[in-house]
């Protein structure tokens, strides 16, 4: 997999407002100041001078952090590898935990994903499996007919001492042109990592607890 993201036009860097708003909600003026100062000092050129490559996933490198077109996330799930692979291999189950995916239709190695877009619109991605290592890895890539250009991999690794499975997801995408494309780009730009984080948490809930947690009190809320 390439380490380089597909470029998103007009991207202006991660928006710091949600994080600041959280601290403000907690009324933490001091922490807020310290946090606001961090981007100014935390990423200085001096720190970029590297004497060794550390062992963190490369996608976390400060030089590329926040890139919205390249989402990577790892989650530890307290279930065996095979069970997680089997569930993920069945793309039609994606809507159970992926908030933006409305439906998936599978035809052999090619599947069509209907994805929710802003303002009630949907776009479709036509995707084919390009690598399938049983209980270890799945990789997919959009076909030339797809409205969205995307590719992704998911890896399953045993955690030590029976602690379950590390699930690593990497997804790249390039939105289409036109109004819909801009809306999608906007969606991804605002919440680049949030969606992946929430979706993987819901996947973990579904695998471990057998259901996706909700605090709704009535079915009408859904």
């Amino acid at each position: 997999m390439s380490r380089h993201p597909i470029e998103v036009r007009g991207y202006r860097g991660p928006d710091p407002l949600p994080r600041l708003a959280l601290f403000a909600a907690a009324g933490t003026a001091i922490a807020l100041l310290a946090f606001a100062a961090k981007p100014l000092f935390g990423n200085s050129p001096a720190q970029r001078r590297r004497e060794l490559e550390d062992d963190a996933p490369r996608r976390l490198s400060r030089e590329r952090a926040g890139s919205p077109a390249f989402v990577g996330k790892s989650v530890l799930i307290n279930r065996p590898r095979a069970e997680l692979y089997d569930f993920w291999r069945d793309f039609e189950l994606f809507p159970q935990f992926m908030e933006n995916i409305r439906a998936v239709e599978v035809n052999g190695d090619v599947s069509t994903w209907t994805i929710a877009a802003p303002a009630g619109q949907t776009v479709t991605a036509e995707v084919e499996v390009v690598e399938d290592l049983r209980n270890e890895r799945l990789a997919w890539k959009s076909t030339p007919q797809s409205q969205i250009e995307t590719k992704g991999t998911i890896d399953f690794r045993d955690a030590p001492a029976g602690r379950g499975t590390y699930v690593d997801a990497l997804i790249e995408y390039k939105p289409p042109g036109g109004a819909v494309g801009r809306a999608i780009a906007d969606l991804f730009r605002r919440e680049p990592h949030v969606q992946a984080r929430h979706d993987l948490k819901r996947f973990k809930m579904l695998m471990e607890a057998g259901e996706v947690s909700t605090s709704w009190r009535t079915r009408r809320q859904s």
Binding site: G27, T28, A29, E208, S213, T214
Partner: protein, 397 residues
Amino acid sequence: MRALTYHGTKDVRVDTVPDPEIINPRDAVIKITSTAICGSDLHLYDGVIPGTLNGDILGHEFMGEVVETGPKSTLKKGQRVVVPFTISCGKCYFCEKQQFSACDNANPAEKQDMTEQLYGHAVGGLFGYSHLTGGFSGGQAEYVRVPYSDVGPIVVPDHLDDDKVLFLSDILPTGWMAADNADIEEGDTVAVWGCGPVGLFCIQSALLMGADRVIAIDHYSRRLELARQAGAQVIDFKQTNVTEALMEMTGGIGPDAVIDAVGMESHGFSLGDQAQAFNLADTIKQKVGIGADRGGALREAIFACRKGGRLSMPGVYGGFVDKFPLGALMEKGIQIKSGQTHVQRYLNQLLRLIEEDKIDTTFMISHRLPLEEAPKGYKNFKDNQNDWTKVVLKPGV
């Protein structure tokens, strides 16, 4: 149904709201027979917990009768159950380690961001305790939806009245875990700050676990009387310098274990002690909304604790404490244990102690009110703490 809802700082009302329903397969719906106001509900009432929205149903201490079950619930209609205030899936790494309040899966994914930003990790799910802990509707209501009903609720025998078992939902296991976290050894002197219901259960638990003596600290005479009734010696911090008294009562050693059963809205800042003087600054900061927790009791506890002693913290904190005596903590080598209660870990053991009459769960109840009078209960529990020690609400009365 009728339910006690939040409408802003010091404004709670009983409203008519839609009944809860089964949403997930492991859910149950409980018809509530008894529910209590917790000291930590007063933090919500005082508006110091962020993420509490207008219309939220409060209440996390409740019990009742099972009236509806999802296909994967193990409960049966008609069973009488007490429900833990912590919502736990029972299947994740934390639940399997019996760290139930740290459950990874109960707090809904979209609600986890707030505490992940504040604390580094998302906290677990709690009933009726702001959207930071999931935004779950609470139990100061006629009915409540209980997620993961196969893991949380404990079925209680009919011969035990509601008043005897209701506090299994929170304050009894919370007091018990606080004493458990103090790693009590035979011959220990344990000091407990705060003689509210949790402090009173800390006293009983510490003595059952082998403490030689418990010294309890408060300033309300009625609460100090209750502490004495539970078996403690007492110090009124308005009468006596607490740290001096604790040193003199332990031959200069200090208490072996100290328990902060007060938390983020500590009282007492006029006595000139270093620890309490800082509390005045905290109070001002809290009033103007810059989010510092008041830590008077906590500072005093660390100051008094013996070298190599243990600090247990059941009191609720939400943000940051200024002037935290980190030096005293390190130089004296004090161990800290804290956390929301792992209720499910202690339920069977505590139910047995209640049945054997080893723990008195009813002596701190001062008022029993119909649900409709819950706002009056909040107001008095807040403003009249000497006489209103514990309020139990009865829906449907």
